[in-house]
Amino acid sequence: MTIEELREIAQKEREKQGQYQHHIHVCTAAACLSQRSDQVKDALEKEVQARGLGDSCQVKSVGCLGLCASGPLLTVEPKGQLYQNVQPDRPEDISAIVDSLAGPPAEKLALSPELPFFKEQKKIVLENSGKIDPERIEDYILAGGYEALLTALTEMRPIEVIEQITRSGLRGRGGAGYPTGLKWGTVAKATAPLGGTKYAICNADEGDPGAFMDRSVLESDPQRVLEGMAIAAYAVGATRGFIYVRAEYPLAIKRLRTAIKQAETLGLLGNSIADTTFSFKVELRLGAGAFVCGEETALIASVEGKRGNPRPRPPYPAQEGLWGSPTLINNVETYANVAPIIRNGGEWYASIGTEKSKGTKVFALAGRVKNTGLIEVPMGMRLRDIIFKLGGGIPDDRKFKAAQTGGPSGGCIPEQFLDMAVDYEHLAEVGSIMGSGGLIVMDESSCMPDVAKYFMDFCSTESCGKCIPCRVGTVHMHEILRRVTSGEAKPEDISLLERLCETVKNTSLCGLGQSSPNPVQTTLKYFRDEYAAHIDEHKCPAGVCEMKKPESPGSEEPKTKPAEVGA
């Protein structure tokens, strides 16, 4: 495969798609699929055929269109008109969409692309998402896919590729934000053991509850991740790659398998890619529901077929990783950023974002916010803009209480920091982390000690049990939080909880334990009055916790409202 042949494929695909005047793009990512978007597609196809428009209108399944809350979503190209909530069993919906091909947009279902939710986004990782068919490599090639890989292979030396990545300022999108160029450089310099090889691993074990960016990228544009991995492998000298993906994402697995097969058939993966000496084979490895496997050393153990126990670092995987060989591990979103950087140059990427956090970040916006879904914004956007402009604010005119980033390893950000710029540094300053990009909005109906208890329950069950601070500490922190939320806690429990947080944070082996106190510490810092209300007044201000009656007579009647049900 040479770059000319690649362009030929693109040209053929362009001609093929050019036959059609209209294109209906139906989202078939998991969220819309669960709202029966596959049936919408079938119904549209039938309607188009029935009206004899089969030669002028193409119905295509595409990846995520972003606004998952209003699914099933579709767009009608070339006008780019968006439609929401199209139901397969409402024939009037289907015929209205097909009517709109020749006439004005169907008012009832139309969704303006001018909405801030769409307008304020800047798409790099998601540029093809919602535009190309994730199960056809030709569509990806038409969108400029694999040009970056072939350019890198034929015109750039590995060191030059790393230089571009370093210049771009790209930082690991898995959460910790380690500079990607630096990591690549370390792996490139490391030597593989005699007879061994280096490895490139893609961490697609998106275990953070409330995060679905990686799933969407894999379901919408799997080829881009493969291309990014291949470029990375070329840069660091790896010849084998593994994608470690959660077994909970069957659709992503299926689309990745298809993507790998198609890329291999075209000679874009496998032996002697683009007639060079570079070979790269990619295999899938399924996770099995262990959160700790998102940690790189645990992930490596799991790829080796072992229990996912982390090990102390150093040696870092860049020196000694999979089967003792130098191993590059990056997150899905990191790899997805690689091809555009090579195509447009590192400076271009570095021109987006803030001084220390470059580029864009994909967030999964969920919880108590009107527009739940997937967004990609430049680094440094204000939290207020993300939640109130793009997210459309809180439903039912309730009051914003906190935003949670980084899953069980992150913290709860209160209202006073709404004007904060969202980047690695600022999030760390307020005690949270960027994490993989889950952003959960909470309103006054959430009880913060209860949220802290929820995350601690998560960490204590997901702790692998290898090191004591995490295994025992998380259980005890959970027990104290249980006492707080049931009205049994004593005032001294808070200082005990604070001491435990410090101990677990400082002495745990891996990131899971080290970051598990974050939700507790941030809620203690910013919502201490809620803890106090639980302990001193035996009252849950949000009305979530079922409090036991206080022992001393005469104090206030405890609230016993049942757990809040979706509003």
Binding site: G71, Y249, A288, G289, A366, G367, R368, V565
Partner: protein, 176 residues
């Protein structure tokens, strides 16, 4: 090191073992494929039993303790047979905020099973997931592999009761 001995025959003539053998063969009976093979067993049989684990240990030349250790470490693997229908309630953060606890309570009141349990008639298994990644549609429930979004307690109760009643009908037909 690859031993040159013959593959160990499966524990029974059940054809599903061939699928499992296929996975092992594809990975050259290498020990690092253990998790992949366990996935195949669970896909084919629905759960991992002791017979399967012991055979895998022999066939892949691994200590039984290691196979058992891996099978019990990962939450996705189950060592108990599942009911005919499975209901997985997502307890991810977004679903939690939007009331997944109420869904679990509704199921518990309606068919009297808790997460991780299977109803006495082996009809319905209730599981929880850490996050199914459908946070935009929270709270989400996976009914027999199909994700449903924005589920209400009434809907989930109706669905599992429907499954439970299926059983009642089947028994009624079976017993004259």
């Amino acid at each position: 090191m690859q031993l040159k001995s013959r593959p160990i025959p499966p524990p029974s003539g059940d054809k599903r073992w061939r699928i499992v053998e296929g996975t092992m063969r594809r990975h050259g009976y290498q020990s690092h494929a253990l998790i992949e093979v366990l996935h195949t067993v669970q896909e084919s049989f629905g759960y991992l039993d002791d017979v399967a684990l012991r055979w895998l240990a022999q066939a892949m030349r691994l200590p039984y303790s290691k196979v058992y250790g891996v099978a019990t470490f990962y939450q996705f693997f189950t060592l108990k047979p599942q009911g005919e229908h499975t209901c997985v309630v997502c307890t991810g953060t977004a679903c939690y905020i939007k009331g997944s606890t109420a869904l679990l309570n509704a199921i518990e009141t309606s068919i009297k099973i808790k997460p991780g349990e299977t109803s006495a008639d082996k009809k319905v298994s209730l599981l929880t997931a850490r996050c199914v990644g459908s946070c935009g549609l929270a709270p989400a429930v996976v009914f027999d592999g199909a994700v449903a979004g924005k589920v209400t307690p009434a809907q989930v109760a109706e669905r599992v009761e429907g499954w439970a009643k299926e059983e009642a009908k089947a028994v009624a037909v079976g017993e004259p």
